[in-house]
């Protein structure tokens, strides 16, 4: 039972003829993932310049300060690379790889938090008036809120950038693809933010910074889903 070749229907040809402008082919997933690096580094550098490096970086040593952040950054690139694969109809990776890297990223964040806390758990003194330091000591949630909102906003900028890069993507599971690049954005920002943030208690690092990563994952998933619905609206007219 083999079908005979048939010409495309008139209605389809009319729709095609309406927009035939030349387009540039999409880059391969790895190149797409590398596009995040300059912007992520820029945002992280701005955070570091604005807040400054944490006071206990000497105590933590270069491995726990820069090494741990580099590992998180590399995982962020891997997550965006997987998101790019997930967005290609013929290039999806096995689910086991997707879930393993996501689990590894979560594990690395928790491990880095615990090791950092066990190495330097002292109460930080910020370069602010003593009265503010006292307020922050009594109400640590204020710093938690500041870090949470700050890194969510910074991560949100990256997610919006990815949404532009991935706007042509045709993912089978757009929410998953979005969540993956959201996780990549959150992790990349956290890699820079943790070098600036002087608080190393698990409550703060996982509660505030972790919540910011979760927020970017949710934001990415929602944007991915919205883009997917818009693109694959059956009978729709979006371009």
């Amino acid at each position: 039972m083999r079908d005979q070749p048939q010409k495309p229907p008139e209605s389809l040809m009319r729709a095609i003829a309406r927009d035939l402008r030349p387009v540039r082919p999409s880059p391969q997933p790895f190149h797409l993932a590398l596009r995040m690096v300059p912007l992520a580094l820029l945002v992280s550098s701005l955070i570091l310049l604005a807040i400054g490096s944490r006071a206990d970086s000497g105590k933590l040593g270069p491995l726990l300060t820069w090494g741990a952040s580099s590992a998180q950054f590399a995982l962020a690139i891997a997550l965006v690379w997987i998101a790019a694969h997930e967005s290609t109809p013929a290039g999806r990776l096995p689910r086991q790889i997707v879930y393993s890297v996501a689990a590894a990223a979560s594990l690395v964040v928790v491990l880095v938090t615990l090791i950092t806390f066990s190495t330097s758990s002292g109460n930080p003194i910020l370069p602010v008036p003593p009265r503010i330091n006292e307020i922050l000591r009594v109400s640590p949630w204020i710093m938690g809120l500041a870090c949470g909102i700050g890194s969510t906003v910074a991560g949100g900028i990256l997610v919006l950038f990815f949404s532009c890069v991935f706007r042509n993507a045709i993912a089978t599971r757009p929410s998953v693809a979005g969540a993956l690049y959201g996780a990549g954005a959150g992790l990349a920002i956290n890699a820079g933010w943790r070098i600036a943030c002087p608080f190393s208690t698990p409550w703060h690092a996982l509660g505030a910074h972790g919540a910011a990563i979760v927020a970017t994952v949710i934001l990415g998933a929602r944007i991915g889903r919205a883009l997917g619905n818009r693109r694959l609206q059956i009978g729709g007219t979006h371009s």
Binding site: M1, D3, Q6, A15, P89, P94, R95, T172, Q233
Partner: protein
């Protein structure tokens, strides 16, 4: 890379450059296979025609998302699958699709299974297979995709794609043998 695949990639690049003739050629070469795949996924040929048109429309909208490093056929079949899934989600037709699998008008018949029973019997047995296994079986034996290509389309490993297809073939053989024994 086969000659046909190379030709399709070249056509796709020309199409990305704005050639309507290249689009028509891609359609002529791939539409019949994609239509049969959609017909298998949807289980109803009347939906397959709409989905086919939607698939090519989506291909046009997303033509920039194609990278020449990928083979065109699995890319387009993967896109067709996305269109089907989105359509199913949008219309909440899952139950209807599976209920209607009793009479599949254009369910493909595997060339390998042709000698094991009549076309109707093979269709009936194929329809009773687990959907994910039947899909892997048909993508490999009916449309000629490699297990690596199937893996990329379904988001599974090549080994899992091979296992699904061979499990489906074994189940199909068993079902057809049972039917033959019943006939005797």
């Amino acid at each position: 890379m086969s000659e046909g695949d190379q030709e399709l990639r070249a056509l796709m690049v020309r199409y990305q450059g704005g050639s309507v003739e290249a689009f028509q050629e891609i359609y002529l070469q791939l539409a019949p296979g994609v239509r049969r795949y959609l017909s298998h996924l949807a289980g109803r040929s009347e939906i397959a025609d709409d989905l086919l048109q939607e698939t090519f429309l989506q291909m046009h909208r997303s033509r920039a998302a194609y990278n020449p490093a990928y083979a065109v056929r699995p890319w387009l079949f993967g896109l067709a699958r996305n269109v089907f899934l989105m359509n199913r989600r949008a219309a909440r037709r899952f139950a209807i699709v599976h209920e209607s699998r009793q009479d599949l008008p254009e369910f493909p018949v595997l060339p390998e299974a042709d000698r094991l029973g009549s076309q109707d019997e093979i269709r009936k047995c194929l329809a009773n297979l687990a959907p994910d296994q039947a899909e892997a079986l048909l993508l490999h034996h009916e449309w000629g995709f490699s297990f690596e290509e199937i893996a990329g389309m379904l988001g599974i490993s090549a080994a899992a794609a091979r296992a699904r297809a061979s499990r489906a073939m074994a189940d199909l053989r068993m079902a057809l043998n049972t039917l033959q024994r019943a006939r005797v």
